[in-house]
Point group: none
Chain length 202, copies 4
Amino acid sequence: MARTVDPERHEAQRLRIIDAALTVIASRGYRGATTAAICREAAIGSGTFFHYFPTKVDVLLAILDLGTQEVAQLREHVAELSDPMAAISAIIDQAIVDAGDERIGGFVQAVAAVMREASVAAALQADERAQRELLTEQIARARAAGKVRTDMSVERLTSWVQLVLDGFLERIATEPDFTAEGEGEVLRAIVLDFLTAEQTGR
Amino acid sequence: MARTVDPERHEAQRLRIIDAALTVIASRGYRGATTAAICREAAIGSGTFFHYFPTKVDVLLAILDLGTQEVAQLREHVAELSDPMAAISAIIDQAIVDAGDERIGGFVQAVAAVMREASVAAALQADERAQRELLTEQIARARAAGKVRTDMSVERLTSWVQLVLDGFLERIATEPDFTAEGEGEVLRAIVLDFLTAEQTGR
Amino acid sequence: MARTVDPERHEAQRLRIIDAALTVIASRGYRGATTAAICREAAIGSGTFFHYFPTKVDVLLAILDLGTQEVAQLREHVAELSDPMAAISAIIDQAIVDAGDERIGGFVQAVAAVMREASVAAALQADERAQRELLTEQIARARAAGKVRTDMSVERLTSWVQLVLDGFLERIATEPDFTAEGEGEVLRAIVLDFLTAEQTGR
Amino acid sequence: MARTVDPERHEAQRLRIIDAALTVIASRGYRGATTAAICREAAIGSGTFFHYFPTKVDVLLAILDLGTQEVAQLREHVAELSDPMAAISAIIDQAIVDAGDERIGGFVQAVAAVMREASVAAALQADERAQRELLTEQIARARAAGKVRTDMSVERLTSWVQLVLDGFLERIATEPDFTAEGEGEVLRAIVLDFLTAEQTGR
DNA sequence: CATGAATGAGTCTTCATTCAT
DNA sequence: AATGAATGAAGACTCATTCAT
């Protein structure tokens, strides 16, 4: 009969719903993930869902926010490494691990479809920015250490690394034979080769 | 039994609707592209739309089909080039041109959201397969000519080139400062460097 | 190049459309019989259809009118028979023949669904009235000849005969094993027994 | 995990919707009975309708099912009567009562129009079969007791009785002066006369 | 006369969201 | 807190009918 609001219980329930939403969105897309389906997956009533999230997009935002937080953690972790190339390598490792999670690929594609909603776009930009900062920081550090090419700005280098990392995630989701484990090392090689290339012709 | 029908007119109208649909889908996503919006863009009544396409997905399929056809044309064109590396370069050129069309990026993301529909998935696979064949063919030819690395199968090489090309398309759509014109040459360099790399560590 | 309107050709075309409509309506119901389906069956364009009939209901009305005319013909034919009981028997014969036509059952049911439309209701009443007059006339004649029971009014007797004839048509359409040929004689017996019954108890 | 649901309330609401649907379908036909009209009659929102019935046909099926259940009840009731002829008479009584409900006639005609839909056809057959079993059972019993003619199979006798009962229902709906109360006794007489007739000529 | 492209009002149905219990 | 019944705006699609050729 304890009427005390239990913040832990509340947070746990919130996470369960987020998890259910991630699963459903990943497998059926954002639009296909009806609130009813999410509630079924989370084994709750529809009313409960709206107790925790004022709106359907809000779960999506919560998921994205979680992602941004994870990047922030990675950033802190990586900042402690003395070798910037090792840091970059660690970032690539994380990308490989992420790509290995089946839900992530589906989720990324699903989110792309909702990008138009202002709030989602903002959250995605936050995510993107977090990623960029993580990368830019280390690439800049590596360049300062003379380990990275100088014919392109750090910004452009970052964009190209992101391009490859995102493409990797997408291809994993697209092509069954293309697996995170099998291709991870090639990914590392390409990114590092690119960053350390002597000179781009033309 | 009068022959009132003008097949040309019919085809022209069909293309106009396809074009309107491409515009709307690219900017608002597949779900956001209501048939009403497409009709408004094409300046036709809703009935007319369904006169040309039995279903909303069918326009999407028509667009994808057009894309597949274009790839087929490129394939024929490229087959005539004697230098396989020039062929690959031509394919990259086309990717850069495609990325320059503002609608394409948005469209690609929009389609991803509907991938679950069987018919769309099939059309996408057709597209993907056409792309692969185009690339595989030329990469194999280039390798036979001793111009491409031999430490990975032609299949894997193709996957990686696709990865980069797709990532390029996506990044153009994502990052305003990242333009097809400005980054096209880097794209070419990365792809060619990758294909001609001496050896991958591992 | 004869620009003379050919009334025969016109009427022939009209009848072809009516026939197609009867076929389609009988097998798919009035609502299921889209003008498009009727046009396909008649092998004409939709524009042609509306050349001959201002409205979809009008074909239905034309069909019903044809039916009413047929009843009128039967009426004339039967008026020439000297024996009223033979006349009634001839009417029953016609009912059996009608029931044998597969389209008629389906059509009758289809029409029932549209009864609410004022114009259709009117046409149906015309049909019903024609039927009634045909029957009433002969039953009255037979009663005058002392061959029919006198404990019910001619009107009521007619209603009951219609009830059985309509029920017959419907059951033929409903129950596959219940055929016009197999049950025709029972029909005749029931109707004649009913008309000639000595006395109804109560 | 609170148990907010009140199954009784749910069932009551369901029945209210069914009742509204019966009213509207009977007076406007199945097609004319738009879901909007049914909702207006039931004083509910369109969403509520689809909360209780996944599809428009499903209300129709529910109504038919209710009818089948009523027949089953009648069957049990009638099985307790020791005199088979009294049982048959009770069945006729029920037919007269049914015909007295103004909506039933309209409803029967309305349903005929949708017979093509597989699910509806199945439900109608279930209804028809229930009716037949009810009748066949009692007619067989009466014949075993030597009270019914033997020149036709029980099956055929049943078909004919159904024919007359259905025709009765239909005529009541068609002819304003032909009322269930006024003609009920004639119905009983005709059916019983038919069943007990000495011999059919043929 | 014949055609079929064009039209848009009208249907069914979905789904995020509210609210009384 | 939790529930699920109720809601209605919005969307895809159908089809009778018009009209320029």
